[in-house]
Symmetry: D2
């Protein structure tokens, strides 16, 4: 099972231009090119766009063991703004628990500035990704 | 200043089909029609789509006093899934603090099922919406 | 099973003076008299004291169905300070899910001022309170 | 100003046996010996005790620049249980922002097992620690 391929079925992530660039055990990296379409009413990249990018990386990292795992609660902290260019989200599964894993995601701009941090608790279901 | 008009400048919310339907002091309601474009790789509405809808309602509620207010930290809890139909987000500013307000948002399906809860702490800047 | 009696075994809550005053299905109320012993280095009630009070109410509310339920992730938002007097925590289980319930707790001073809000996701274990 | 000395005025932390062992710019470490007095009704260290320990380390780290800084919102995630022995909390200020810093705290047992993670957004006030 190629997780990068599997997550191409995430149509919402695709619509907003978020895509996985790397997935390994307990780790994933995603990217998105921020354009005028991603901006909010004050002219900065919308929080929901950054959240979706972070959430895609989170989903790939916690599903990297091929057991279906869904978010329970995700805490998004905003650090800085961005108006354009590439943004990256790196997800690390800090706790690989058999039922309730925990994952941290850092979102950064292309010049390495920290934009946001997503901390998510998740729940492993009794199903494999292959069985979906 | 008509906040519903102002938030039409949120191009990201517009792209994903999220729109405000009501704004008053400390309150806002937004809606979005979930279509195939909003689904994730497992066939349910993507968490980022629900987050963005909730965030739009939050932004309108905390900016309803016309002082620019931005999210500091937003905690999203997922309750149920949805595969289509209208979803609604209702935001209530529980704490109208002069610097650090706090807002709760409930996201529900068109048949009234609770889908997610967003709790956000925000920061009021020294600027009015009109001055943007 | 009397939950108020059961939670008297919470020695930490007892040490700091937090006690349950009411428990029903999906609901609990706890109280604590803030004294000099609860203050932090700046002279206000320590966040950990308010958290513990809120956590006691949360634990009683989510365990009110007599299935052992533990916190996964708890988000504490501080609203105002207090230097003394009674403080109360009221917990409401908003989502009574068979595996992952969700509970909101409001902490208030004796004159009704909101002090803090605790939002917690929890996990139900395959064990009853009676079996402990 | 010696921050370790200053935080000895945190009477609540002292009552529960939490103490700072190290403080430097943007960093702090605290410890607590878990005894029978720290246990909850199910026989494990109470979440509020671990939270208070983590909060003490957080407070020292974000106040290490000697500007009074208070928590806005703190997200506590529970990873494992402990029944006794030393527990440690290490706080790192990830974002040293002039108004809204962000700090991560890891709580571990004496054998290095991760017990909990606290992520906190904070607010810097227009006051120095010396002026308190």
């Amino acid at each position: 099972m190629n997780l990068k391929e599997f997550f191409k079925n995430d149509r919402f992530a695709a619509m907003i231009g978020a895509e996985l660039v790397e997935v390994s055990e307990g780790y994933a990296k995603a990217r998105m090119l921020v354009t005028a379409e991603h901006l909010n009413a004050t002219g900065y990249c919308q929080g929901g766009a950054l959240f979706t990018l972070a959430d895609l990386a989170f989903a790939a990292a916690v599903n990297s063991h091929l057991q279906v795992t869904v978010a329970i609660s995700s805490n998004m902290t905003y650090v800085s703004n961005v108006k354009g260019g590439w943004v990256y989200a790196e997800a690390r599964e800090i706790v690989n628990h058999r039922k309730i894993p925990y994952c941290e995601v850092r979102v950064s701009s292309e010049d390495g500035k920290l934009l946001a941090i997503l901390n998510s608790s998740a729940y492993r279901m009794d199903r494999t990704i292959e069985a979906l």
